[in-house]
């Protein structure tokens, strides 16, 4: 009876397979507010789920029932939780493939993927997948599943959260992971989620550890090349600052690079407000408050006016020790030469 392919609608009230379950009503209390006028099929399925949960039934038919409900309300975390418990119980009792059913972990994962494509903004689907893959202890094909999701929404927060878990859980800090980010950033250099993941796999995961030889230089080069393609893209600028910070490299080393995009003295064509932002800080650290202020005024007046109050606050902080947006974790080894 049970199948992932079945489109048959089950009428739990008349189906002989469900006669042993007593449907339980929902208690919404007296005169409830914002009550939902449930579609009859949802109300019926939920009453049978309550009946099933009351007798702690974890037989294969529960998978039908929960899939039915999830198809109507994918955010039903209680139903997802009960489904996972059922899957685990079925595995323990070897209840998969009992002749009548043809459930398997693989089919479950395929079904989850199809639901995920229908409901992109959903916490439960990806958490369910995580529980399964954690249990199976096998990440095979999982990166591809997330890549499929990125094809329709490359910034899906839930999918990225899952991807990070996957990489951490199975230690997938490998060339394939870095190449995947190269591809995504090649496709859209403004995909900040991909930048975030890149930082995670190259430097973020290290915590207080030092990065391997050459990684800092490689990432600086990568960020600078990305900036050259689109200098007003904030992601690689933020990334560049973060890499320098991790590498314990003084911000002043970016002075020439930034001035290419934001010549302040003499004032030339400004092609990046982010370069101006960093330059104000570099000038500030070097004690050149006039130019630092000039950069902030340009930002407030012309290049990023909605943040005028913030730039004014930054001006207030000029010359103060606290104005180190890139506070090094150790004493800087490279000093400002300007």
């Amino acid at each position: 009876m049970a199948s992932y392919d079945s489109d048959d609608e089950v009428d739990y009230a008349t189906d002989p397979a469900w006669t042993d379950i007593t449907p339980l009503p929902q208690d919404d209390g007296e005169n409830p507010l914002a009550q939902i006028a449930y579609p009859p099929e949802y109300a019926l399925a939920m009453s049978y789920l309550r009946g099933v949960m009351a007798v702690n039934d974890h037989s294969a038919r529960v998978l039908d029932l929960t899939a039915d409900i999830i198809g109507m309300n994918a955010a039903h975390y209680t139903v997802w939780g009960y489904r996972f418990k059922t899957l685990m119980a079925l595995e323990t009792s070897n209840g998969f493939n009992d002749g009548k059913t043809d459930w398997s972990w693989r089919k479950e994962l395929d079904w989850v993927q199809s639901i995920a494509k229908q409901y992109e903004k959903n916490y439960q689907i990806w958490h369910h997948r995580q529980l399964i893959i954690d249990h199976l202890n096998d990440p095979t094909g999982e990166r591809d599943r997330t890549n499929e999701m990125f094809a329709s929404d490359s910034k899906n927060y839930h999918v990225w959260t899952y991807r990070q878990w996957l990489v951490k859980r199975f230690n997938l800090f490998d060339a394939e992971e870095l190449e995947a980010m190269d591809l995504l950033l090649d496709d859209d250099v403004r995909n900040n989620s991909a930048w975030n993941h890149r930082y995670f796999i190259t430097l973020g995961r290290l915590g207080a550890e030092d990065p391997a030889e050459g990684v800092i230089d490689r990432e600086i080069k990568f960020a600078k090349e990305a900036i050259s393609k689109a200098p007003q893209n904030p992601s690689p600028w933020n990334y560049l600052k973060a890499v320098l910070r991790k590498g314990n490299i003084n911000l002043a080393s970016l002075k020439d690079f930034c001035e290419r995009f934001a010549p302040v003295h003499p004032e030339g064509e400004i092609s990046s407000s982010h370069a101006l932002d960093i330059l104000s800080e570099i000038y500030d650290e070097a004690g050149d408050f006039v130019r630092a202020e000039q950069a902030l005024v340009l930002l407030a007046a012309k290049y990023d006016p909605v943040r005028k109050n913030y730039w004014r606050y930054r001006k207030r902080l000029l010359g103060s020790d606290e104005n180190v947006l890139i506070a090094s974790e150790k004493t800087p080894t490279v000093h400002a030469t300007a």
Partner: protein
């Protein structure tokens, strides 16, 4: 059977039909990809108000695309450009439209008075959220939601789980967001129902609203979702993120648990409930300076609010934000969330503005400015006000011109249908822009509250006068003018951490002090 619902009446037929991917427990993702309704265009929000004061000038930044636009086109830049162009048509109004309170109230009363159609089945695990969003938004619009107190109580009682905590609906597993939204709703309606009553009657209202909550079991349940790393899961077997930690702390703070309750019984293997919590939040600050859902996750406005508000429950803003976080990088990232020409906030770098971030990002500013003021004042050894670090006026312009649905309700952006979630968080954001919220470390607290680990959450005040920045010598200042051109546009004051009407938290606190006092069998009557 309980699933037999009353017939849908004619008024209910006006209810919007909602998409299948309706957001889950806390929806803080912008609702991208939704198709605009055919009858709704980008220009539909213009409601010129003849009673408004003389029109001002539209700031130039709202009339033009940013000065620098890169040539390279990608999906992100194309979406951003088309959104900015669309919004430019809406924000370009010399006279700001008024806040159409009457139609928003009608939109928000509808689900409470008429119930919801079957199209809302996707919110069946979020019933307390529906109550909170509608009731809190109504209170912000000046409605007396006290009339709903009894029905809120009877609606929420069946959601309390026998094992402690609250589910998203009757018979559902306990979920921390459900507990959060339930407690907030009760706090709001009890406040309204008891205002102006003599003390004994007020206590009666609170007894009715809160005495049925099994505090001991709730605490035990929260221990089950607490993680050894200092984080929380949203439910047993559920996902871990900072939203869970924030919700848990708000529940603990509003229900008046004391240090001893939280410490737990070591002989039973219970660990202190707040152990490692601040450290966990701290570990969620990212390389960008913003804050993600969990360690290493991308910086996101929704989670940033959760962490900032939670930390400010545990300490004064200065220590909470500057000792736990890299403050300057946080401010830089937060500030970069506000865009022109739109005026609104985005939730992440290179994402689009969305009205709900008026709260998630806009709500962070009171906390951040309180910290900045304290830092600068201690540096200068005098009271310094750094003034606003963001543009209140730009956000107000975005909200009034872009976030009001033509048939009531507030929304993400023009062309997107309003909903209850956005209605609440757009209005809370408007409140953040219209008022000055400040931390008052000189406020006098009761002896019980003074010992509470959450005492800092009870020291927030509000003012209609928003100060301008003072000079480094403490001089200058004055007030920011023109934020609320017509007083009828003003929304209610909101607590910057709890997101409920400011003052409701103190009323509730008074009840707990009274309740815990009489419940303490060891206490000698009359002795404090």
């Amino acid at each position: 059977m309980s699933y037999q619902r009353r017939a849908v009446n004619s008024k209910a037929r006006r209810k919007v039909v909602f998409p299948k991917d309706w957001p889950t427990m806390v929806q803080i993702e912008p609702l991208e990809g939704q198709q605009p309704r055919a009858d709704e265009t980008v220009d539909d929000v213009s409601h010129p108000n003849p009673y408004q004061m003389a029109p001002g000038r539209v700031p130039v930044m709202h009339l033009n695309l940013p000065f620098i636009l890169d040539d390279l086109k990608t999906e992100t830049s194309q979406k951003q450009l088309s959104t900015a162009r669309n919004i430019m048509r809406s924000v370009d109004q010399a006279t700001l439209p008024s806040l159409d309170k009457a139609t928003h109230i009608e939109f928000l009363l509808n689900p409470l008075d008429e119930g919801l159609s079957g199209g809302f089945v996707g919110l069946d695990a979020s019933r307390p959220w529906l109550l909170y969003w509608c009731i809190n938004a109504l209170s912000a619009l000046g409605e007396d939601v006290g009339v709903y107190n009894e029905r809120v109580i009877s609606s929420l009682k069946p959601l309390q789980h026998p094992g402690g905590g609250f589910g998203g609906g009757n018979g559902q597993a306990p979920h921390v967001a459900a507990a959060y939204a339930s407690i907030l709703t009760l706090t709001v309606t009890s406040y309204y129902a008891s205002r102006g009553l003599p003390e004994n009657e007020r206590l009666g209202v609170y007894a009715n609203s809160f005495a049925w909550i099994d505090r001991e079991k709730l605490l035990q349940w929260l221990r089950k979702i607490k993680l050894p790393n200092g984080g929380f899961k949203v439910n047993e077997g559920g996902e871990e993120d900072v939203r869970a930690g924030y919700c848990a702390l708000v529940v603990l703070a509003l229900l008046g648990y004391n240090e001893e309750d939280l410490r737990g019984d070591l002989s039973l293997g219970e660990l202190p409930l707040l152990e490692g919590v601040a450290g966990y939040f701290k570990s969620c600050q990212t390389w960008e300076g913003g804050i993600g859902a969990k360690p290493h996750a991308e910086a996101h406005g929704g989670y940033a609010f959760c962490v900032l508000a939670a930390l400010c429950l545990l300490g004064d803003p200065q220590e909470a934000l500057s000792e736990n976080l890299d403050f300057n990088r946080l401010v830089s990232w937060l500030s970069a969330r506000q865009y022109a020409p739109e005026g609104g906030f985005s939730g992440r770098t290179n994402k689009l503005v969305d009205g709900c971030y008026s709260t998630w990002v806009g709500g962070c500013w009171s906390l951040v400015e309180a910290a900045a003021n304290a830092i600068e004042s201690s540096k200068k050894s005098m009271k310094v006000n750094v003034g606003d670090l963001w543009s209140r006026k730009a956000l107000i312009r975005y909200i009034l011109t872009c976030c009001q649905g033509p048939y009531g309700g507030l929304r993400d952006k023009p062309g997107i249908r309003p909903d209850y979630y956005h209605s609440n968080y757009v209005l809370l954001g408007l409140s953040a822009a219209q008022h000055y919220y400040y931390y008052d470390d000189s406020s006098v607290q009761s002896p019980v509250l003074t010992k509470s680990p959450f005492r800092h959450g009870y020291r927030w005040k509000s003012s209609k006068n928003v100060p301008r920045s003072s000079g480094n010598d403490g001089t200058g200042g004055g007030w920011l003018e023109g934020l609320v051109e017509d007083e009828s546009d003003r929304v209610g004051v909101q607590h910057p951490l709890f997101n409920i009407p400011l003052g409701a938290e103190s009323y509730l606190q008074s009840w707990w002090e009274w309740f815990n006092d009489i419940s303490d069998v060891d206490a000698i009557p009359g002795e404090k």
